[in-house]
């Protein structure tokens, strides 16, 4: 059967093919586990919460009576907190990434900074919550306000934004930097006119994904704002606030089944917001990519 007349090679074609198939099968099972888990969650949540998802649910304040309860204060709280988190974290994150990639000398100190940055991205979020409580709420005396919550979440997502932005800055081809230098651009012009525009889509995507992580965080915000009963929309950064995950957590922890269903409805809203943000990230990335490739 063999094409070769001599037997120098024992190519094991069959067993290689079988091993390939086995690996394919394992990978398929792995992906199915993930999809099944996500699907179960979605089905569960939608079947529990769908009927509770009404206009009044979105436009009413929380209440002791489940049929009157809504999550408007949580939705607006989340909007406030996300906007401020973005305003604090994104510029600082981009600036740090630019410094680390374009200016920082390659020495031991910078290596330590880099390692710690990666570690910070993995620190449990409750630790940030306690830090925020100690630093912003008490030491800086900002109080349990939306501002304190935003600053805390900004700290939480900062390492993620820095890492994503550095990745994006590093992905700008060095040939473009050299081309700009060779035309008589100085460092600031190279960064402003070549590096930043080149890295922008990646920075944007990374920042949106980081914010969409922050939007689902309950633990650090509970540490800041506590599990309070908020029946108003924040009108300034110095107002008390609540966010969607806290409201959901609050409902889940009640014994009545109606509140469980409210929590499910809240999860649907949160998921919709999350998926919209991720979709926006993908859309913007594709838009800028095709723009620069065409």
């Amino acid at each position: 059967m063999s094409l070769q007349s001599n037997k120098i090679f024992n190519s094991h074609l069959r067993s290689r093919a079988i091993r390939g198939m086995v690996f394919y099968g394992i990978c398929l099972v792995c992906v199915c586990i993930g999809i099944a888990a996500l699907g179960t969650l979605l089905v569960q949540v939608v079947s529990d919460g769908w009927s509770w998802l009404t206009w009044h649910f979105l436009s009413d304040y929380p209440s002791r009576h489940p049929e009157e309860a809504g999550m408007m204060s949580a939705i607006f709280g989340t909007l406030w907190v996300m906007a401020m988190t973005g305003i604090f974290a994104v510029p600082v994150g981009i600036g740090s990434a630019m410094f680390l990639e374009e200016y920082a000398p390659k020495n031991k100190l910078m290596q330590i900074v880099e390692i710690n940055l990666a570690n910070l991205a993995g620190v449990p979020s409750i630790v940030y919550g306690l830090l925020g409580l100690a630093v912003f709420v008490y030491w800086m005396n900002i109080g349990r306000t939306a501002l304190a919550g935003s600053l805390t979440l900004a700290l939480l997502v900062l390492p993620v934004i820095i890492l994503a932005s550095r990745e994006a800055v590093r992905a700008v081809p060095n040939a473009h930097r050299e081309a700009a230098y060779a035309l008589g651009a100085d460092k600031w012009q190279v960064i402003r006119m070549v590096v930043f525009p080149g890295a922008f889509p990646g920075i944007l995507t990374g920042s949106i994904l980081a914010l969409s992580r922050a939007i689902g965080e309950a633990a650090p915000v509970i540490a800041i704002s506590a599990l309070v009963y908020i029946t108003f929309i924040p009108t300034s950064p110095m107002d008390r606030f609540t966010v969607m995950p806290i409201q959901i957590y609050n409902w889940v922890s009640r014994p009545q089944e109606e509140f469980q269903n409210l929590a499910a409805a809240g999860i649907i809203v949160l998921l919709v917001v999350l998926l919209s943000m991720n979709a926006l990230a993908i859309f913007l990335r594709n838009k800028y990519q095709t723009k620069s490739d065409e």
Binding site: A180, L183, E294
Partner: protein, 260 residues
């Protein structure tokens, strides 16, 4: 002083050596590059020809541990003197790279880039058109200046990079193997362009292709490398002399291909 009798040399190196950390890349190069001529740098890989080229516009400054010793004079002025701003030097000594590297911007914006960074006060449209005409690209792109430069073919992209360099109105254009990533027809177009551009500019070109050096260069410098002393200049003379009657047996061995 005696510019009328001897051609003016734009760039002069004396005892020029370059180290990357402790690695000696180039040792004791003495050469003079004449105005409005094409000077080719040839030699085997690692002989330091690109390093030498990058000394002329101080691109080696961008490599953290590069050290340049000796002197480079640009129109008689020490290029590495303390009063020299490398950013200004790079606007007067342009560079074209091995792989076409247009910015992911429009054709127009690519050519206008150098004008913008150097604070050009004239009419942008006219300067861009002038540069594109000089680079023999205008007729091909005049109707799609707003299109991304990445839609151009490799050869067009390289001519765009030449236009981009020309737009800044440099005195010298350095070319680092400008045609090595191009097909033969695009290569010929670039060579044609180089021969025309030398009327206005002084051109220094690194090339791996000896026929190319023979076709475009007035003068040719042959560099070699050995482990003990890094890259060094073997022979520098008129191209016709280098290719027909070299003084050094090593040059002859290299150009006749009896040498790796």
């Amino acid at each position: 002083m005696n510019n009328m009798t001897s051609p003016k040399s734009v760039l002069n190196t004396s005892q020029l050596s370059v180290y990357y950390g402790s690695f000696l890349a180039l040792k004791n190069v003495d050469m003079a590059i004449q105005a409005n001529e094409v000077t080719a740098l040839i030699g085997p890989s690692g002989c330091g020809k690109s390093t030498l080229l990058r000394c002329f516009n101080r691109m080696n400054d961008l490599i953290p541990d590069a050290v340049v010793e000796g002197k480079v004079l640009f129109n008689g002025k020490d290029l590495y003197g303390s009063e020299i701003n490398p950013t200004e030097i790079r606007s007067r000594i342009g560079m074209v790279f091995q792989k076409p590297n247009p910015f992911p911007k429009s054709i127009f914006d690519n050519v206008a880039f150098g004008l913008k960074v150097n604070g050009y006060t004239g009419k942008m449209d006219e300067a861009v058109e002038w540069a594109l005409r000089q680079a023999a690209l205008w007729d091909e792109v005049s109707d799609r200046l707003k299109k991304s430069a990445l839609t151009l073919s490799g050869g067009q992209q390289q001519r765009l990079c030449i236009a981009r360099a020309i737009a800044v109105q440099p005195e010298v254009i350095l070319m680092d193997e400008p045609a090595s990533a191009l097909d033969p027809i695009a290569t010929l177009a670039i060579e044609e362009l180089i021969r025309e551009l030398k009327q206005l500019y002084t051109i220094v070109i690194v090339t791996h292709n000896m026929q190319q050096a023979a076709r475009v260069a007035d003068k040719t410098a042959f560099l070699m490398v050995d482990d003990a002393r890094g890259g060094y200049l073997v022979e520098y003379d008129a191209t016709s002399k280098i290719f027909t009657n070299p003084s050094d047996s090593r040059t002859e061995a290299y150009i006749t291909g009896r040498f790796s």
